[in-house]
Subunit: 200 residues, 4 copies
DNA sequence: AATGAATGAGCATTCATTCAT
DNA sequence: TATGAATGAATGCTCATTCAT
């Protein structure tokens, strides 16, 4: 038991720093956050941060990578058993806004802090983001093949349109002064989207 | 005459700094750009920048404000004479991507550099951006009243969906390794969008 | 006059930092000296140091380069009019210990702080130091040609022996607890040295 | 037996760390060498270093102390049976350069790394170095009494001159780009030196 | 004796901004 | 208006040392 706690304590420290960083970045912005702030929030010494991450920037990237990987994995499992491509996209869209809506700090980091550099945007594009877009595109193409979606549309472009719409919902939710649930927005987006891309 | 030249010289210097800053921000990112870089690029002394702008941040905001105001004004003129709300939206969308597609540096600043702070995102929301969304919403509502657009949709949400889709087109164009024209993307977006929101 | 003061003030700032650094390095050692200490001692802001020097290390190198160049120039002038090579070496040796003996801080930097890195030792060797050794060697060779010095000795080795002996005098003077004049040591060294290398 | 092995193992570890440190210091310089580097090179854990040495600085001092003590002991044995003071000094000088010439890493530590701090230079002076100089001085005085060396010279100064000359040979050997044997330099130094200090 | 994870003090350098000229 | 030398606050990262195991 003690050993298990110890083991958890060890790997838990990495997680702890990651969660602390998400809170701190969301609160102050990436550039205004000091590594010392993150360390204090995670209740570790400054130097300890560097036992788990090479740099402040790597922390930011790790937040993205880890969450993106989880989201994609969750999405794949969710649609695995479904047949209807439209329904699949609906589930993915809902999951997208559900996850961000469940953790405002994470949402701020994803919608705001991660966007501030061309450098990151390129890696962002290259890494998990491309895979996410790819998941959308493949599902759309499936629908095109099965005849439920218009074949005259570029699946690639269409998936960007869908992503852009969802992304804007999330960003607006972040900066909005009003409190509302993010996840239901998925329905509206999918209503317009599916209506726009359906065959016949 | 001398005074007029002087006036022009002065305002010309402000413009010159703004253009220089756009290039520098696009090249190095806002946080990595030094005021001294901007001054050198604009061919003025460091201190001169502060005769026209209160801070480095104000330069960034001015780039946004000025371009946003121009874009909205241009958009209003463009749709003034048009009757069809769908056509109006199409023109606005095309203008949106046309302007960004015509100036990659400006596009980088708009799509990347301006996104990196919650602080700015809020002001961004408060200022010209709200007005732009409002232009989209009013035009959509016009279409709802005239019966061409579905009345069961929230105009506010729908305008965000459209903006998000266009915004994503622009961002992808920035980070894409491939060279292509941005402006034609407006057609595809409008195709899906109008199909999705049209009544009947 | 005011302009002259101003001009001096400008270039004087560089000198001022150099002198301050010599004092600080001598007092605390190079590695324990903070740039902030140097700035305070020179009565300028921390950042001002970097208007005149690229790095802390460059300050150390500049102290060496500048003083070495001065010493060599002074040495050349001193021996210019002399005929006897033995007398020339005697004058150089005296100047060597005179200069170091006149400025204990400078001596500490030369004898101790500059020696602490192979990196510097190589540059040290490559730069002014080589020129100094060369001055000794040429003078010795002159004496060999004129028949006053033994021809069976390697001028290069002999000049290192002389330098080593003088260098050790200086180092011992630095670390000695007793107060004594450094410069007179030159006589003793030259006595043994000239006696050791004289022909016949 | 087990205990003896254990004892050997233990003291062997101390030696191992000392040798590792000599390599590491020679390679990177004292200030750029991390205790972790030394530990890795010695194949022990970081903390283990502190079971044998109080601090990083103590390691450096131990390298000096241990080698200096060995060198002096070896020197004493070497001259024990000799009669001629000149021959004694010759043997000591040769041993001096022989030892350094046999271990370049050790030579780098002795000639470069140990010189970088006034603090150490003082202790350096106080400790084994003084004893070494004293050995030279006593031998020289022996020669003065027996009439082979000039009586008008200060034995203390003369021993510093000899040390300085040998020291410079060693330092030059370290920083030289050319590969050559260090030990033969002793002959040349002794030639000049003995010629310079011999009576009549 | 040995380990190595954790600590936290310490610092060179940058750069937005000011202001005397 | 324009200059650019001077300022000084601000911080990511390193690494010698400790100590619980």
């Amino acid at each position: 038991m003690a050993r298990k706690t110890s083991r958890n304590g060890a790997s838990g420290k990495r997680e702890s720093i990651l969660r602390a960083a998400t809170r701190v970045f969301a609160r102050n912005g990436y550039f205004n956050s000091k590594v010392a702030d993150i360390a204090r929030e995670a209740d570790v010494a400054d130097g300890t941060v560097y036992l788990y991450f090479k740099s402040k920037e790597e922390i930011l990237h790790s937040i993205f990578d880890q969450n993106m990987a989880e989201a994609i994995a969750a999405g794949r499992i969710l649609i695995e058993k479904l047949k209807d491509p439209g329904e699949k996209l609906r589930r993915i869209a809902t999951l997208h806004l559900e996850r961000l809506g469940a953790d405002r700090d994470l949402a701020v980091v994803f919608q705001v802090e991660l966007r501030g550099s061309t450098k990151f945007m390129r890696e962002f594009s290259a890494a998990g983001f491309a895979e996410y877009l790819s998941l959308l595109r493949q599902t759309f193409e499936e629908g095109q093949r099965s005849g439920v979606f218009r074949k005259d549309l570029s699946a690639k472009l269409v998936s960007k349109i869908l992503f852009g719409a969802l992304d804007e919902m999330a960003t607006n939710w972040i900066i909005s002064k009003r409190k509302y649930k993010l996840e239901p927005m998925a329905e509206v987006v999918m209503d317009v989207f599916l209506n726009g891309v359906s065959a016949s």
